[in-house]
């Protein structure tokens, strides 16, 4: 009787825990608040999008999500021309990412028991890199080109730091007692951003530093030549930037589309002696995906785990035209596919998440089996024992959610280009066209004063569709 009473308490406790953690942000990602913000973003009402995001801070973001909040807020503020605030928030994100370079031990334990949602969000690698691009653009708009160049230099350094981070991370995984299988290192072929070099070239030219501008132009070309899979579109010719002209030079940087989101990808594991069979769901049926050796494992365990995968959102824009005083001057060329770079940069992280999640699920499944065997022994395999098994299995599945946190407001593509115009006041239009050459939207700069006093002027536009 006492044993049955204990089981009742345990089952009620399990149910309560299951209900509690079902809606807990420590184990799942909250995305509902984006609906309202997205509405304003699609209407290009960025001021209102900023307010909407700030209003959702209390309910939708925990302290562990601060990096995500600062990135999204900083980006929306950038699009809303709130440059000072944007710099502050992106700098907060940048500094926090640097601090989170090392995962704290306590949060590491939390992620081993629960999942990565319990950890501080430290930003995806591509977010970490492009934060500096948007800070640089904001500094430029504020007339601080020296600070803008600081951001580009910082971005270049981050490539080296990320490489170091992953070498450490792989070494740690290989030495870990939890990982009882071979760890394959995934390499990433992204180590130089053409967009960053394009921007630094303009900044150097703006300061009259033509030698440094030429070096940046050459690095821009190298980025295209050496990373052909990521820069699989025509390499633009930037030589005109460096030539002397009696006219005023005006350059453009235009962002279109929306960067990728994450979705949950579920795996099922079935264990055999020293072996795990991993299956994926295809057309409603579990299909064998992979079989891996896992030393010291017993057979008969079954569990599920989920990892995040990226999903492109792309852009409806196929062409960006520059019209000056009603005359077509040029089409802008594509400089960077931020979405392709997000995919490439995420490859390495995804591999590590897969291994960590697998190890965590195996540990939980082993513990669950041990508990239920003990309960079976005490109840002779009665009904209560079966119910406990069902609930603990559900609890494991409930805690195995993919961490779907990702910044929502990066663009998917960057375009650039330069024109020469007579110094003076002009009406400038940036026209966004779709695949059928239909105009989707136009950004207008009426009575824009193009000055010869500046070596080069930079106009930035955004169309997040």
């Amino acid at each position: 009787m006492i044993i049955i009473f204990n089981f009742k308490i345990r089952i009620i406790s399990l149910l309560l825990i299951l209900l509690t953690i079902g809606g807990c942000s420590s184990i799942s990602t909250s995305t509902e608040h984006y609906t309202n913000i997205d509405k304003f973003v699609s209407l290009e009402m960025y001021d209102k999008a900023v307010v909407s995001l700030q209003n959702s801070q209390k309910d939708a973001y925990d302290e562990k999500d601060r990096v995500l909040f600062w990135i999204d807020l900083g980006l929306l503020q950038h699009y809303a021309y709130q440059d000072s605030l944007s710099i502050i928030n992106l700098a907060l994100a940048d500094n926090a990412i640097e601090e989170l370079y090392t995962t704290s031990i306590s949060k590491g334990v939390a992620s081993m028991v629960l999942n990565d949602n319990a950890l501080d969000y430290s930003g995806e690698d591509y977010e970490n890199l492009y934060i500096n691009v948007f800070k640089a653009l904001a500094f430029y708009r504020q007339g601080e080109s020296e600070s803008a160049l600081v951001e580009i230099r910082r971005l270049t350094e981050k490539f080296v730091e990320l490489e170091q981070k992953y070498q450490q991370e792989y070494r740690s995984l290989k030495e870990s007692d939890e990982i009882k299988t071979e760890v394959d290192e995934i390499s990433v072929n992204f180590y130089s951003s053409a967009l960053a070099h394009y921007l630094s070239m303009i900044l150097f030219l703006n300061d009259g530093e033509y030698d440094d501008g030429r070096i940046s132009r050459d690095k821009f070309y190298d980025a295209f030549e050496n990373q052909k899979e990521l820069y699989n579109f025509p390499k633009p010719n930037l030589d005109n930037f460096l030539t002397h002209s009696e006219n005023a030079k005006l350059s453009f940087i235009t962002f279109t589309g929306r960067a990728p989101l994450k979705y949950e990808y579920v795996f099922q594991i079935d264990t055999f002696e020293n072996l795990i069979v991993i299956s994926i769901l295809e057309n409603g049926r579990w299909k064998e995906f992979n079989t891996i050796a896992w030393y010291g494992l017993e057979g008969g365990l079954h569990a599920k785990f989920a990892i995040p995968k990226l999903k492109k959102r792309g852009s409806m824009v196929n062409k960006v035209e520059v019209i000056v005083d009603g005359v077509h001057k040029r089409d802008l060329y594509k400089i960077e596919s931020l979405e392709d770079i997000a995919f490439e940069a995420f490859k390495r992280e995804e591999g590590i998440i897969y291994l960590k999640s697998l190890a965590r699920t195996v540990s939980k499944a082993i513990a669950n089996e041990a508990l239920n065997k003990e309960l079976d022994k005490q109840t002779d395999g009665g009904d209560w024992g079966g119910l406990t098994r069902l609930l603990t299995g559900a609890l494991i599945n409930a805690t195995e959610n993919a961490d779907l946190r990702i910044a929502h407001y990066f663009p998917s593509f960057a375009y650039g280009g330069e024109i020469e115009v007579q110094p003076g006041v002009h009406n400038i239009e940036i026209v966004y066209k779709d695949r059928n050459n239909r105009t989707i939207a136009t950004d207008k700069f009426d009575n824009y004063n193009v000055s010869k006093n500046k070596n080069i002027d930079l106009l930035e536009t955004v169309f997040l569709k």
């Binding site: 629960l114 991370e169 939890e178």
Partner: protein, 201 residues
């Protein structure tokens, strides 16, 4: 881990603790105390670099040569100290540190930099209209500088196996304003080793 129940209790505790913030304490320190939190360029780097570079500047022969030729102290103006690094360094603080060291040495005279001048000129112009004849300062009576001190701060960082090396280089040069002649040039390097805790799985 003995059983899943223990695991669940730990999970619940973690869920609660994850939301708990830590308290913050503030400790006041003397302004010349060295506090290096991140390994980034800080007030101590600025102060010590300025002191060492000014010591070198004053020890070199250009001041003696100038005194001999002109029988007066050289007049110096601070030009642009450019930040070519990957950190947002307040070069104005560094400029002020250099200015203070140089003025306090008594070996050179200093005139206001181009940024400071505008405000002073505005004030002087207003004095012509609103101040008494006796107290209003004369126009076109500024002291022209003989030399301009210019510089660059650059960085080079490297990291490996949980350790990061931050390498700062400060280059300063004194240029004669009439002849463009560089009368003094010096470089100071700061190397900082920053330990990063290892990644924990």
């Amino acid at each position: 881990m003995k059983n899943l129940f223990t695991l669940l209790i730990i999970s619940s505790l973690i869920l609660f603790l994850a939301g708990c913030g830590s308290s913050r304490t503030v400790q006041r320190t003397s302004s010349d105390t060295t506090v290096d939190l991140s390994g980034k360029w800080n007030d101590t780097d600025s102060r010590l670099t300025a002191k060492k570079m000014v010591d070198g500047l004053l020890d070199s022969r250009w001041i003696l040569n100038f005194n001999k030729e002109n029988e007066r102290k050289p007049v110096v103006i601070i030009g642009n100290i450019k930040n070519n690094s990957s950190e947002h360094i307040q070069t104005k603080i560094f400029s002020k540190d250099i200015e203070r060291e140089l003025i306090n040495s008594g070996e050179v005279k200093f005139v206001a930099s181009s940024e400071e001048r505008d405000e002073i000129r505005d004030e002087r112009a207003e004095q012509q209209q609103y101040s008494s004849m006796e107290t209003a300062k004369r126009l076109a009576n500024e002291t022209g500088a003989d030399f301009m001190l210019k510089g660059v701060i650059s960085t080079q960082n490297d990291s490996f196996d949980g350790q990061a090396v931050k390498f700062y280089q400060v280059d300063l040069e004194m240029i004669h304003l009439e002849t463009n002649e560089k009368v003094w040039i010096d470089s100071k390097k700061i190397k900082k080793l920053v330990d990063q805790a290892g990644y924990k799985f």
